[in-house]
Amino acid sequence: MDVLFALAVGLFFGIGVFQLLRRDLIKAAMGFSILFAGVNLLILAVGAYDSQIPAYASLAEDVQVSDPLVQALILTAIVIGFGSYALLLAMINVISRRFGTINSDEVKNLTK
């Protein structure tokens, strides 16, 4: 399971960084959200203890359940990532209307 997580996180980071460096701002924004998804997966993978049994579901006494805290952290991180993504898309919207382009190189040159 750990290997699978590691591969998935690496893939997410690779795709995310590649997309983030694109000139097209929409693609860059997508890379942004892929990166956040990757880091959320990383947090899930580093749970202090892991198990197949969901937290708070088992009534048995001495059964190792999965870590509930990382799930709470990811929930917070998802909300924050979503907020940033929404702000980013709103800014891209304004840029596309103000400058008539979403190519970041051309936006830089249109210093009016």
Partner: protein, 519 residues
Amino acid sequence: MENNIFVLGVVFLPFAGLIIALFVQNDIISRWIGLAASASGFVFSVVVLMQNMSIGPQIYRMGGYEPPFGIVLAADMLSATFGVMASAIMMAAFLYTLHCRDKAVRQRSFISLFLAMQMGLLGGFYTGDLFTMFVFIELLVLSSVALTAISDNLLGLEAAMKYLFMSAMGSLFLLIGISSLYASFGSLNMADIAQQLGTNERPLLAITSSIGLLCAFLLKSAVFPFHFWQPDFHTTAPTPVSAVLSSVVVKLGVYGVIRLETLLFVAERDIIGSWLLILGMIGIFFGGLAALSTYNGKRMLAYSTFAQVGFILLGVGWGTPLALAAAIIYAFNHAFIKSSLLMLFGVVASRTKAKTAALADVGGVGRTLPAFVGLLYLLGGMALAGLPPMNGFVSKVALVRSGIDAQSWFYVGAAVVGGSITLMYMFRTWQLVFQQQTDEDTTKLKDPGVHDSPLAPALLISTALALGIFAGPLFTVANRTVEQISDPQIYIDAVNPANAPEVTDAGPELTLDTAEGEE
């Protein structure tokens, strides 16, 4: 320890103001609400500092969970000192918005976003929990991005975009660092992690996390390899926002680095310190020379921040008690100087029709302002360059003295040479703006008397002057701070009293001579 409501108030009074300001239609009233919320936050932060001086670290446990579970706001001397600094500057910035002629300030969301920025900033200083720190930092980043995106300067949008991408990378590093620490120790509470790190059992992941956290904090401070967003972002933001960004928001990163060095990774402080020295020196020279050669007044001050953070990092990098105290004094003093200078440049820029601070357009503009504005700028320039009797002199003396004490001759020499560059660019712009003959062609200027009020920068400069003449109290606070942070156990015991071991000795006696700083 009892929950202290004042600690909560510092963070949540701006939040209360934010909620109220959202429902207020009239923008004049909402500006007064902003000022009231930030001023009450300032009063509470001063109370927290006083209680720290007399009693000890103050804490507030959210929801009343026992340590190390639950979220805790913990204000020790370091947090309280930085908190007083941040809320004082925020209060001055809200005072500036009262008579600010920027269109952005009249936006309905402006005051709410600005208060969100104060909440994020103060929360970042006060929290005792790493993940909550991430949340507060994100709040700070998102609100400052939104504020810059609605700036009068059309380039603000591009700068905000750039900063959002850069700070997203910083947040990712922070999250990676936090999750690595959580994987190693199963805790997010800084005191708890510090205690487990202090037992010298260091998993490899914990060392990795120190790099992630360090990168994130250095990005927030705009230190050398992570600085590319800073000049654009600080130049194009609305004047009150840029004054806050360039003076206290960069200090959040400095605070994080000091915490890393003194609380979490105490054993690695020599390695971290040697990196900070190199990065700080690059910052001093790059920032100083770039400020000398730039074409825009606000941009010059943004580059200058870059250099001044370099000086602070030198102090943090030396890491001796004397040097840490000097770094804290420097950070505190620089906040007042830089915010007032940026506001003064905003006042000058508000005289021109294009609201520009470009040096080609503001030659002699200062002569059309009341004469004392020029005097304020001169005093601010003297403070930034480190001339007596301003507070900049006190902080420079403390820093150089601690460097001599650490026998680090190379970096002391670099700091002195780099500091003299400040003198050149500050006096050059003073002559240009306030001494040069005003352009005959007055079509670029607004009608006489139309400009932002220089009240807030005047108050800040007089505080700077007072801190220069009466430097004693600040030295006392800084010495007490260093006394406290040189023993991580004090912080750990205050936050997690359940596992408090036997009483430990206080830190070594400090020998910083306060009379030295009083000029």
